[in-house]
């Protein structure tokens, strides 16, 4: 057991290191230079020597290996560097922009769970084959809906047509309704699909026939036998989908003008603010890794087969 835990944590650390290294390499390889973008602006009137000084102070011209080691050590000690564009510590920027994104993704994920479970339950309980076929085709529609298009469509309907959500100066909760909806729809699709397929598969298992032979009704079987067996394999997918949420947040926040991590990412890309981007990548990777690690470590609690075998066979 402890071996399993240590192994999983080791993997998580390895993934983080890889994410850091790859993003470092890619960001360095990008054409363009944040310092030049900001300080070569003629209005600032800086001479070449002054710019060279600034470059030295940021360590921009030291060899890549030195920069890499330097950045790595700083990250390990919790120092994520300074944003070239905003001139404030990157850590502060992230902390300031985190809450909207956290709300958005948590609520989006919960709502997608509600969608997925509702669809799966409707499909499992539907008495007609045609109705079930129809419900099972909904996720395919959801997953092929582009986030930006859905966002704009929702604004059109709810804000302009129905005037349910104000566009200008909405309250903090009102502002979240449409983005959360936009995010939840595409995330719910794969969850619903996997859940439905698992339910159909578990329903063909011999132990379901045994339960029916005991006199259990269809509902009883679904609730007492199928539900847990069908949900277990979706845990992993749920963890992976969280990654989608972060990616989806970039577009969603841009469409709805939210000031979250997604918006920060977008602005930093425009400004080529490498320090911020580097920190966001590592932060997202860390969130992703921690969630998946939690899922992995929780599995043995839900699934008795994954607990250590005690020698029982008598």
């Amino acid at each position: 057991m402890s071996r399993y835990v240590i192994g999983r944590i080791g993997q998580a650390v390895l993934v983080l290191w890889a994410a850091f290294t790859v993003s470092f390499g890619l960001l360095q390889a990008l054409p363009g230079d944040a310092i030049l973008i900001k300080f070569l602006n003629p209005e600032l009137g800086l001479g070449p020597e002054q710019i060279a000084d600034i470059r030295t102070s940021y360590g921009a011209d030291s060899p890549l290996v030195v920069q890499y080691v330097h950045t790595a050590i700083n990250f390990l000690t919790g120092n994520f560097g300074y944003s070239i564009h905003a001139g404030v510590p990157v850590g502060d920027l992230i902390v300031a922009n985190l809450p909207p994104t956290l709300w958005l993704s948590t609520l989006g994920f919960l709502l997608s769970l509600v969608f997925a479970i509702t669809l799966a339950a409707l499909s499992a309980l539907s008495p007609f084959a045609w109705l079930r076929a129809f419900i099972q085709s909904i996720p395919a529609l959801f997953i092929s809906t582009p986030v930006f298009w859905l966002g704009i469509l929702l604004i059109q309907i709810f804000s302009f047509q129905l005037r349910l959500v104000p566009i200008i100066n909405p309250g903090p909760w009102q502002a979240l309704i449409l983005p959360v909806l936009t995010l939840a729809v595409p995330i719910s699709a794969p969850l619903a699909q996997i859940l439905m397929r698992n339910i159909d598969h578990v329903l063909t298992e011999p132990f379901v026939a045994v339960a029916r032979a005991k006199g259990a009704s269809h509902r009883w079987v679904l609730w007492k036998h199928v539900a847990k067996n069908a949900v277990l394999p979706t845990l992993t997918i749920g963890g992976i989908l969280f990654g989608e949420l972060l990616a989806g947040a970039v577009v969603t926040e841009a469409v709805f003008g939210l000031n979250g991590l997604g918006g920060l990412t977008q602005r930093s890309v425009n400004d080529q603010d490498i320090a911020v981007l580097q920190a966001i990548v590592v932060f997202s990777a860390a969130a992703f890794v921690v969630i998946n690690l939690t899922v992995d470590l929780l599995y043995p609690i839900f699934d008795p087969r994954l607990k250590v075998r005690q020698g029982v066979v008598a």
Partner: protein, 557 residues
């Protein structure tokens, strides 16, 4: 269709009221070409306390019948006619909701495969309690007490502990006992036992069938026993119904049918069943082996350990097995699951390095071979696997499957390869037309012939047959055994035959090693071992072979 039957064990007036009466039952499945009928006009009676065996090969409709009776046909299945009367009431038109009230209470089910028939994430206790909860049998405390009582009754040790355990913590035999406890919990009038022991070892099978017998007598329950094994039917049933292609071929009291089968198909089934037919009259149906001058396989004190988890513990799967196999003969390794027979076979073909001991195949020491030389060994020794459905690549054509070993060894020109493939196909009696097909288009017997052809295309000296006929119907099994005998005669092959089925082993092998928990407990010429078993375990194995009770009395007439 339904003949009047006299059952000695049941009193005359009770016999007048059958528990189950099936009349002209027809069942069909919706497929690509509309409804296809798989059960035609079947009628039978099950009287109180009686065991009626429904016997047939795969595809005979016996399981469909069982599912129809308990109302659990697959979603695309449909009753197309006839009546199913339970205690006089026709339940064939009942809704699932109505059926829920009698399932578990009046009819119950003992399923085929205990490993998949219990919910893996619920405790044993909860799953036994469930049947009592559904039918509202008392308070929680009463149910808990009844669960322990039931688990004790079906012979589980430490019932309180078992109730808290999960299915994966119990052996197959123990799980089947749990499923029996569920089936008898409410003392139903009828139990449908669908191949209840087909997935179990022969000694466990005997104990489970004994338990069902015992509970049946105690509770006066009738049993509809679905089985492919005539030996099991012969031992356990009062009445037998032989099905083929969804139609009844013959039915009657078991003793009568075994002694003088009226229909041709029943006679064939009886002749092909290794535990019933020829073994008793003629011990060897096969031709005399053409014995070669030397030993094709020599195994000396083979030991195979496996490391357990992260600790230093080792598990000794094979513990000091030795035997020799003369060229041109068949040696069988017999044992139950976990006996180490497959592990021993894997060491012999060089798939894993033994912990100690030596193995010679065709004069070469296998245990020291590495890399390319080990690969070269495959030209001498080939393996045929148990499951002809899983051991063939579904995407390859039969030609590609049989040709593949040739590509791995001899750089033969294309025409020569094709000639070899055609020749070997003739050898295993497959028509050349199968070459362009894929495995799914072939029957189980044909697939196993393909697997044998693939093994033989390299002209090996030794063939290791790992449960090679266990997954096949008796008639097909008899044909494959005959083919193996022919091939041995013609090609001077040496067989190492791995099996759990003693009846088959007795039929086809010359010498035998009996394995139990990795140890060799018996060995020698097959008839010596069967007539004078040297260990208690071998005696138990032999006495557990089904088909000895009734058949003994009737087949020598």
């Amino acid at each position: 269709m339904t003949t009047a039957i006299n059952i000695k064990t049941v009193s005359a007036d009770a016999a007048n009221l059958p528990i189950l009466e099936i009349r002209n039952l027809a069942v069909g499945y919706r497929g690509n070409q509309g409804f296809q009928r798989v059960v035609h006009d079947v009628s039978l009676l099950v009287r109180p306390g009686e065991v009626v065996a429904l016997v047939g090969e795969s595809g005979s409709g016996k399981t469909t019948m069982a599912q129809a009776v308990i109302g659990l046909l697959a979603e695309n299945g449909r009753l197309e006619g006839g009546a199913i009367r339970l205690n006089g009431t026709d339940i064939s038109g009942w809704s699932q909701k109505q059926l829920d009230t009698i399932r578990g209470r009046q009819i119950s089910l003992i399923p085929q495969d205990p490993t998949t028939s219990l919910n893996p994430v619920k405790t044993i206790g909860a799953q036994v309690a469930e049947v009592l909860q559904i039918h509202r049998q008392g308070s929680r405390a009463e149910i808990d007490a009844r669960v322990i009582e039931l688990l004790t009754r079906v012979g589980l040790s430490q019932p309180e502990l078992r109730a808290k355990q999960y299915p994966h913590e119990l052996s197959g035999g123990m799980r089947q006992r749990v499923l029996i406890a569920i089936a008898v919990a409410l003392r139903p009038a009828l139990i449908i036992a669908d191949e209840p022991t087909s997935a179990l070892d022969v000694t466990v099978q005997k104990r489970i069938l004994d338990l069902i017998d015992e509970l049946r007598r105690e509770y006066g329950t009738a049993v509809l026993l679905v089985t492919h094994d005539l030996g099991v039917a012969a031992d356990r049933a009062n009445h037998i119904v032989v099905l083929k292609g969804g139609r009844i071929q013959e039915q009657g009291p078991i003793a009568e049918v075994l002694a003088s089968p009226r229909c041709e198909y029943t006679r064939k089934l009886l002749a092909d069943a290794p535990s019933l037919g020829k073994t008793r009259s003629a011990f060897r149906v096969r031709s005399r082996p053409i014995v070669g001058p030397d030993d094709a396989i020599v195994v000396e004190n083979l030991v195979q350990d496996f490391a357990l988890g992260g600790k230093r513990d080792v598990f000794r799967a094979v513990d000091g097995v030795s035997f020799t196999v003369q060229r041109g003969t068949t040696h069988a390794i017999v044992g139950e699951s976990g006996s180490g027979k497959t592990t021993a076979a894997r060491s012999i073909v060089g798939f894993q390095k033994p912990t100690s001991g030596r193995v010679f195949v065709d004069g070469t020491e296998v245990t020291t071979l590495r890399g390319e030389n080990l690969r070269r060994l495959r030209k001498t020794i080939q393996l045929v696997y148990q499951n002809p459905f899983a051991s063939l690549d579904p995407r390859q054509t039969i030609f590609q499957i049989v040709e593949e070993p040739l590509l791995n060894f001899d750089p033969l020109p294309r025409e020569d390869r094709a000639r070899k493939v055609h020749a070997i196909l003739d050898r295993v009696d497959l028509p050349q037309s199968v070459l362009t097909r894929r495995p799914h288009a072939l029957s189980g017997g044909q697939r196993q012939r393909v697997a044998i052809a693939r093994a033989l295309v390299l002209d090996p000296q030794v063939l290791v047959l790992d449960e090679a006929v266990s997954a096949l119907d008796v008639t097909v099994q008899a044909q494959i055994l005959e083919l193996l005998d022919e091939l041995q005669q013609a090609l001077g092959l040496t067989y190492l035959f791995i099996s759990h089925d003693l009846a088959v082993v007795r039929q086809i092998s010359d010498t035998v090693s009996v394995l139990h928990n990795g140890r060799q407990v018996d060995g020698g010429p097959v008839e010596d071992v069967f007539q004078r078993p040297g260990s208690a375990y071998t005696r138990e194995l032999i006495s557990a072979i089904p088909g000895q009770r009734n058949a003994n009395q009737h087949s020598f007439q």
